[in-house]
């Protein structure tokens, strides 16, 4: 079956999660035979769009008239692209842009939406089922989508794309757009040009055990040596030791990197809610009874102030010899 993917490319740059979504769509299309179409907007170059072919897209429709991430206009372009290619499955990334457009489109098309999918749907005749994580990662739910058109929001970092050397055909899309009710009046870019946390494959995180913001150098050094993003527990961002966008957990962001290293974090359930889908968890804590050890794959009972610099050294040595 043909699949349509919504790709968000703010400021002309395609996000990593979008490549994953295209690759994921190709896995669905493969099942029943069909093509992967992409719909996007803005100033992203034709070359970058053609490269989506490497991830399985055969055609990319781009609406150049639209440059802002506007909820009503984006819904209109995805609906127009769907109409044009006849896809029965539409894939979004479960990221800020997908969270705006996918529900609007679902209501517009009366198409069932499953958020936060972590694996390729099972398709068996009329049955179309998708598994997601629920209850803060404590269980899975298998959803059954009852409608003819189906919408899926893919959880970032759920699969690793493999590339081919194909190129996608790029064509323009100029549907009639509704009036925008909202206008962007200001953009605030995240400070620092490090790896955005939701996309990071490796994350080094620290909590109140670090005692104060002046001690974060050892966390950043390990992150840098690994090529990892940094994160923190909620109290740490609440008291302003670290920026809010680093706060992970139930009330912050949920991440699922391949490696999550937590130093000086107790492992409260609300913290675990945002990280326990990580593939591998390493915990460093002075207290052998810290609850986080129960959720960890590897643990070091020890002082973060001594252990983190040693890990950094070990990583540097490892990188030098590999």
């Amino acid at each position: 079956m043909s699949v349509l993917v919504y790709v968000n490319a703010p400021e002309g740059k395609i996000a990593k999660a979008a490549y994953e979504a295209v690759y994921y769509a190709s896995k669905i299309a493969e099942k029943e035979g069909g093509d992967v179409h992409v719909v996007t907007y803005g100033s992203v170059s034709d070359d970058s769009l053609a490269e989506l072919g490497q991830y399985g897209a055969s055609k990319v429709m781009v609406c150049r008239e639209l440059s802002e991430e506007n909820d009503q206009k984006l819904t209109a372009i995805v609906a127009a692209a769907r109409e044009k290619c006849g896809a029965k499955v539409i894939v979004f990334s479960f990221d800020p842009s997908g969270k705006v457009v996918a529900p609007r489109l679902s209501a517009k098309l009366k198409a069932g939406l499953v958020s936060g999918a972590t694996s390729v749907p099972e398709i068996d005749g009329a049955r179309f089922s998708i598994r997601t994580n629920v209850f803060s990662g404590k269980a899975f739910a298998t959803y059954q989508v009852e409608t003819e058109i189906k919408i899926i929001s893919l959880m970032p970092n759920s699969l690793k794309p493999e590339k081919s050397d194909k190129k996608a055909e790029v064509e323009s899309l100029s549907p009639s757009l509704p009036e925008a009710g909202l206008k962007v009046v200001e953009r605030k870019r995240q400070s620092g040009d490090g790896i955005p946390l939701p996309e990071a494959e490796l994350v080094v995180s620290a909590g109140r055990g670090l005692k104060g913001p002046e001690n974060w150098g050892i966390v950043e050094e390990l992150a840098e040596a690994l090529g990892a993003a940094t994160a923190c527990s909620r109290p740490v961002s609440d008291i302003g030791w670290r920026p809010h966008h680093e706060h992970v957990g139930q009330t912050g962001i949920a991440i699922r990197p391949n490696l999550y290293i937590a130093a000086g974090i107790s492992g409260a359930i609300q913290h675990l809610a945002g990280v326990n889908n990580s593939k591998t968890i390493v915990v460093i804590n002075t207290d052998p009874e810290a609850p986080f050890f129960k959720a960890a794959d590897y643990g070091i009972v020890g002082d973060a102030f001594e252990v983190l610099p040693k890990l950094t050294e070990a990583v540097k040595k490892f990188k030098a010899s590999n």
Partner: protein, 246 residues
């Protein structure tokens, strides 16, 4: 300003999760339910602050059975003026959104506020669907909201940081961290909540689009492998050769 805040009921995060009916239903036995934190801490409190500063009213809306009444009373105790419960099992996001939209359609709300997502199923769907059904603009994951002279200024999360949007009321907004600070209801609020109006309305006829077929629990996690603090290199070696993550 006329404000509607939609709240949902979720199990407390510390809940032990289990299932019944052949793993097709969540076992609610002995589960402590709370107001979804995003709805309570951010949507409701910001709604109340706007009302306190500029006048108007804050109404609570839930789609659910009588089991929702305790969490609705909690929201009234925090300061909402009145509440409506649409008497129906919230079957899926579209079903819930359709009920909310059908109710709100001709009531003239200036703001319809939601939480960013529920903490049990993390759908992040209902707000956007209501916006579409009512043909209103939608801001999701909003971290700031100011209103003056019928014009709203909203800050929201986007991929690369934050964006500030402006638009005329009415608007539909889903609220996240930054919007407001949690409020603890006081004794007076709790007493007052008992007599505040809670209207129960019949549900509209709507079909659900998705259903949950079954639940499962993840395989039990193996024991943690402890590494000596002096032996950082062993950990790096395990991460490379065993876990294969670096």
């Amino acid at each position: 300003m006329k404000i509607l805040v939609c709240i949902s009921k979720v199990p407390d995060t510390t809940t032990k999760i289990s299932f019944t009916d052949n793993d097709t239903k969540f076992n609610e036995d002995k589960v402590q339910f709370i107001v979804n934190p995003y709805d309570e801490w951010y949507a409701l409190v910001r709604g109340l602050e706007l009302k306190e500063a500029q006048g108007g009213s804050v109404s609570i809306l839930s789609v659910g059975g009588a089991d929702y009444d305790p969490i609705i009373r909690k929201a009234l105790a925090i300061g909402a003026d009145d509440a409506i419960r649409i008497n129906a099992e919230p079957k899926d996001a579209y079903y819930t959104a359709s009920q909310i939209a059908a109710f709100a359609k001709d009531k003239g709300y200036d703001l319809i506020l939601f939480g960013k997502e529920t903490i049990d199923y993390n759908g992040a769907q209902v707000g956007g669907m209501v916006a579409e059904l009512l043909d209103l603009p939608y801001v999701s994951i909003a971290s700031k909201l100011e209103v003056s002279d019928g014009l709203a200024r909203v800050e929201r999360d986007v991929q690369a940081g934050k964006e500030v949007l402006e638009g005329k009321l009415p608007l539909v907004i889903s609220c996240a961290k930054g919007m407001a600070e949690q409020r603890i209801p006081n004794m007076r609020g709790i007493m007052a909540a008992r007599t505040k109006p809670l209207k129960v309305e019949e549900a509209a006829e709507v079909e659900a689009l998705v259903g949950i077929e079954k639940y499962s629990l993840p395989p039990a996690k193996g024991d943690v492998k402890l590494i000596d603090p002096e032996n950082a290199e062993e950990l790096i070696d395990l991460l490379h050769n065993e876990a294969k993550v670096i």
